[in-house]
């Protein structure tokens, strides 16, 4: 197999690649390929993707534990599990963790692992920045959660943390400071990740991979990263203003001086509503990959799928004030945002119909991945419909701050985003780890999740319409809310059983695969359509032996199947003949580096320093400086680092100097 050896080290920065200049960094170039060092220094998008996934799964169990505490508190009237203050902290951290530390990074795990594979690249555009994104996310998440142990309790302001309610007067512990600084750190991570992935998708596509031949998942991720790129700076402003208010005595939310209490709400929701689509679109992308494969049909209306995703991305910017109908923004604003909100349901409806049309007449295989995907279509539709009821402003005024809202967003985030992510896990597990997750346990996992989920959140529609307020730690026996609260609490234990079964499945699938002598699932176990299935499982470190040339959407499928005169798919080549062997040699890969870790490690110090003692800022700043300059003076690929058998760093060029 001929290796298309691209110019190995033509750094676009022009850094001489002949090794004549010594790197100035103190840390030696890491060289191990196994063990913990290979993970902490890795710049491989696949390893980083897996680390994102593991960390997100860990935080999922943390947030799930918090959710269980909430439900235990609400299981009976006048519950005593949590105090009112602790209840505030627990529901805040549940929301913050699920949004910023579970769903976003889990989607980032899929994006990192799959985008380079789906566009036919050897890595992301900036492998070291990719590692930096992960470490910043990890340290930001850990920083946020240390508020439980140091600082007198977690943030107690809700995930939206409305100022002035989150000011020092109403929230005197350091919890909110952890919220602002922690989200600033993870925000930097997501911004860098967004730039990196957009450049990857736009610049590193394989020959022939025009934009409208990209898989729908890649498209949805492109839209998501664009949304992140432009929405994160807005919440960054809000978080800075609140930090300045709380730590340095600024007056942005000082209503006594005449500050505008709606400023935070506007800034937050200008970020917060695009954020909703940031959370759901990756899962839309995942099921758009899963459903065609298990229906043996191409996605129905590919251009409609892509354009409706783009439309959601644009319209998502014009609906933020529907979170503020009860805040008195005036009838014109309310009418305008009502209409915009109704309109945004249209492209979402297009997607639902297209998924159903894809399944229609297909030869459907109900694998676990497919079950989760179909589960998303059904559950998200319920959540979408209750969402449309919110666009009717008079009804929304009634529903605001009730459990009806809680029911709605759990149907779109749990029933939508999370089910999609689980679908993706069952689907791509063999690609990432070289073995399947057990299907029998997987189906049990699915049914426990879907039943538990509906038991937990279905009753909240009723509770909300009966007037039960969210964020209130208890209710009275005379309120008539006890029965459905009991049902919801029961449901959360069904979900917990499902999640424990999932954990067990991960362990037992691995063990039985090892016991069976590690059989390889083959490059293409599901008979799939996109490029990542044309290379061996698990993915070799260099991804592609040769960069494929793409001739159509679903190119890999067309290498396997042609059409007979009735338009039916007929096999034209055996899968083994069209997949790559993964045995390329002499391919350059970007070299691992410790500096992303060093740089990221500085930021939590700065965070603690701002909260407790400014002296701590000094080691933090020194770590950041060390990271930046060690990074800038370390070539992204070691000139004599041949890696024996690994890949060209077509992707490995890094901006050396102007990126901090």
């Amino acid at each position: 197999m001929a290796i298309v050896e691209r110019e190995p080290l033509a750094l676009t920065t022009g850094e001489p690649s002949n090794g004549s200049l010594e790197p100035l960094g103190v840390l030696a170039r890491p060289s191990t390929k196994t063990g913990w060092r290979s993970w902490v220094s890795t710049v491989d998008h696949k390893k980083i993707g897996i680390m994102y996934g593991v960390t997100a799964l860990f935080f999922f169990f943390v947030a799930g534990f918090e959710a269980t505490l909430i439900r235990l508190q609400l299981a009976q009237p006048n519950g005593t599990v949590l105090s009112a203050d602790l209840y505030n902290q627990v529901f805040t951290m549940h929301g913050v963790t699920m949004v910023f530390l579970v769903i976003m990074p889990m989607a980032a795990a899929f994006a990192n692992y799959l985008l380079p594979l789906q566009v036919g690249a050897r890595d992301v555009a900036f492998p070291r920045l990719n590692a930096l994104s992960f470490w910043l996310f990890l340290f930001g998440g850990v920083f946020l959660n240390t508020s439980w142990v140091i600082g007198g309790g977690g943030p107690d302001c809700g995930w939206f943390c409305y100022a002035p309610n989150s000011g020092v007067v109403f929230s005197p512990t350091a919890g909110v400071d952890y919220y602002t600084l922690g989200l600033l750190i993870t925000g930097v991570a997501s911004s860098i990740g967004a730039i990196n992935l957009i450049v990857t998708v736009l610049n590193l596509r394989a020959p022939g991979m025009s934009l409208f031949r990209m898989p729908v998942f890649t498209w949805m991720q492109l839209v998501v990263q664009m949304l992140l790129l432009f929405s994160l700076p807005v919440i960054t402003v809000a978080l800075f203003l609140l930090t300045f208010d709380r730590l340095f005595g600024a007056n942005f939310f000082n209503v006594a001086q005449g500050a505008d209490p709606l400023l935070w709400q506007h800034l937050f929701w200008i970020f917060g509503h695009p954020e909703v689509y940031i959370l759901i679109l990756p899962s839309f992308g995942i099921v758009s990959e899963v459903i065609p494969v298990f229906s043996r049909k191409p996605i129905y209306g590919y251009p409609f799928m892509v354009f409706s995703g783009i439309a959601i991305g644009f319209m998502g910017w014009g609906v933020w004030a529907h979170h503020m109908f009860a805040s008195g923004i005036g009838p014109i604003s309310v009418a305008a945002f009502s209409l915009a909100t109704m309109f945004i349901a249209v492209p979402t409806g297009v997607k639902i119909l297209n998924w159903m049309a894809t399944m229609w007449g297909g030869r459907i295989r109900f694998t676990t991945a497919m079950l989760f995907a179909v589960g998303l279509v059904a559950m998200f539709t319920i959540g979408g419909l209750s969402g449309v009821t919110h666009s009717v402003a008079p009804a929304d005024t009634q529903q605001t701050d009730t459990y009806y809202i809680v029911a709605h967003f759990h149907y779109v985030l749990f029933g939508g985003a999370l089910l999609g992510l689980f679908s993706g896990m069952y689907f791509w597990w063999p690609k990432a780890f070289g073995h399947f997750l057990d299907e029998k346990l997987g189906k049990a996992h699915f049914w426990l999740m879907i039943i538990g989920f509906n038991l937990t959140f279905g009753p909240m529609h009723i509770l909300g319409l009966q007037g039960m307020s969210r964020r209130i730690q208890t209710y009275q026996a005379t309120d008539g809310l006890t029965f459905w609260n009991r049902v919801a609490t029961f449901g959360v234990f069904v979900i917990a059983a499902g999640m424990l079964l999932f954990l067990y499945n991960i362990g037992s699938s691995y063990r039985s695969w090892k016991a069976a002598g590690r059989p390889n699932p083959g490059a293409d176990p599901w008979d799939s359509r996109s490029l990542e299935w044309s290379i061996p499982s698990p993915t070799p470190e260099h991804n592609f032996d040769t960069i494929p040339t793409v001739r159509a959407a679903d190119d890999f499928w067309h290498r396997k199947y042609g059409e007979d005169e009735h338009g039916r798919a007929v096999r034209i080549a055996a899968t083994e003949d069209v997949v790559q062997k993964g045995d390329a040699t002499g391919v350059h890969l970007p070299s691992p580096s410790y500096y992303p870790l060093v740089l990221a490690a500085g930021l939590p110090f700065i965070g603690y320093g701002l909260i407790f003692n400014l002296l701590l800022v000094i080691p933090g700043a020194l770590l950041v400086l060390w990271g930046v300059y060690g990074w800038a003076y370390e070539p992204s690929t070691e000139p004599d680092d041949h890696h024996g058998d690994h890949g060209t760093a077509a992707a490995a060029h890094e901006e050396e100097t102007s990126v901090g």
Binding site: R6, A10, T12, T13, G14, E15, P16, L21, A125, F126, S191, V199, L202, N203, L204, R205, G208, S210, L211, L229, S231, L232, P233, V234, V237, A238, F240, L241, F244, D245, F248, G249, A250, N251, F252, Q257, G258, A259, D260, L263, L267, P298, Y302, T549, V550, R551, A552, A553, D554, E563, G567, A569, A651, H653, E654, E655, E656, T657, S658, G660
Partner: protein
């Protein structure tokens, strides 16, 4: 099943098929910088909106309790002084262009001179800002005095921090050039640093108008 796309025989005519080493023809680094600057627009957009919302909230500042913002310009801001420092900053964009152009013409000596000049002009602007901030604080208008002052110091301070980071980047590149690490083959790296520098200048034009000039 009708497939969505029939494959054309060749890809040569694809309009997104670039001429450079990437499929778009624009290098990864430059595209990344443009995206970053796009993101920065929203950052300054948020800060400027906040300032516009709060620019008349001057209460609890002696002598300005009910001041019109138009009087503020005359009484508080030293507009001729700030105009000069704005001019200095804008001129630094010119010297930055000259630095990039020198490197592209392989004149590294001249490139270093222009690089230093750019950094010095930027530093003069920062010195002017420090002087202005100190003068305000002496007159009793500190960061915490009122809503206006918080918004003013935050907006101009964020911009100043961007200029400082720009100066650090320029000085790093100056040092790299002395070590022979910034030859003509890396002209694009300097050009990308220049993109950042010009962006920071353009933002100042907006900030200057919004903060100092509009009534």
């Amino acid at each position: 099943m009708a497939e969505t796309l029939a494959a054309p025989a060749t890809d040569a005519h694809h309009d997104d098929h670039g001429h450079g080493h990437t499929i778009t023809g624009i290098s990864n680094e430059k595209l990344a910088m443009w995206l970053f600057l796009g993101s920065e627009c929203l950052l300054f957009g948020g800060l400027i909106s906040t300032f516009l919302l709060y620019r008349k909230k001057l209460n609890s500042f002696p002598g300005f309790e009910n001041a019109e913002i138009s009087k503020l310009g005359a009484q508080l801001f030293d507009i001729p002084f700030t105009s000069v420092s704005s001019f200095v900053l804008l001129m630094s964009s010119l010297t930055m262009v000259l630095a990039v152009s020198s490197l592209q013409r392989r004149d590294e000596q001249r490139m270093r001179i222009w690089l230093l000049a750019t950094a010095l002009l930027g530093a003069s602007f920062i010195a002017g800002q420090i002087y202005e901030f100190t003068a305000f604080v002496k007159e009793g208008l500190g960061f915490t005095t009122n809503i206006f002052s918080s918004a003013f110091f935050t907006l101009t301070g964020f911009h100043g921090a961007h200029v400082v980071i720009g100066i650090i980047i320029l000085m790093t590149m100056f040092a790299m050039s002395l070590q022979g690490r910034l030859g003509p083959e890396r002209a694009e790296a300097l050009e990308i640093a220049g993109l950042y520098w010009h962006f920071v200048d353009v933002v100042w034009v907006v900030v200057f108008v919004v903060v100092y000039l509009i009534k």
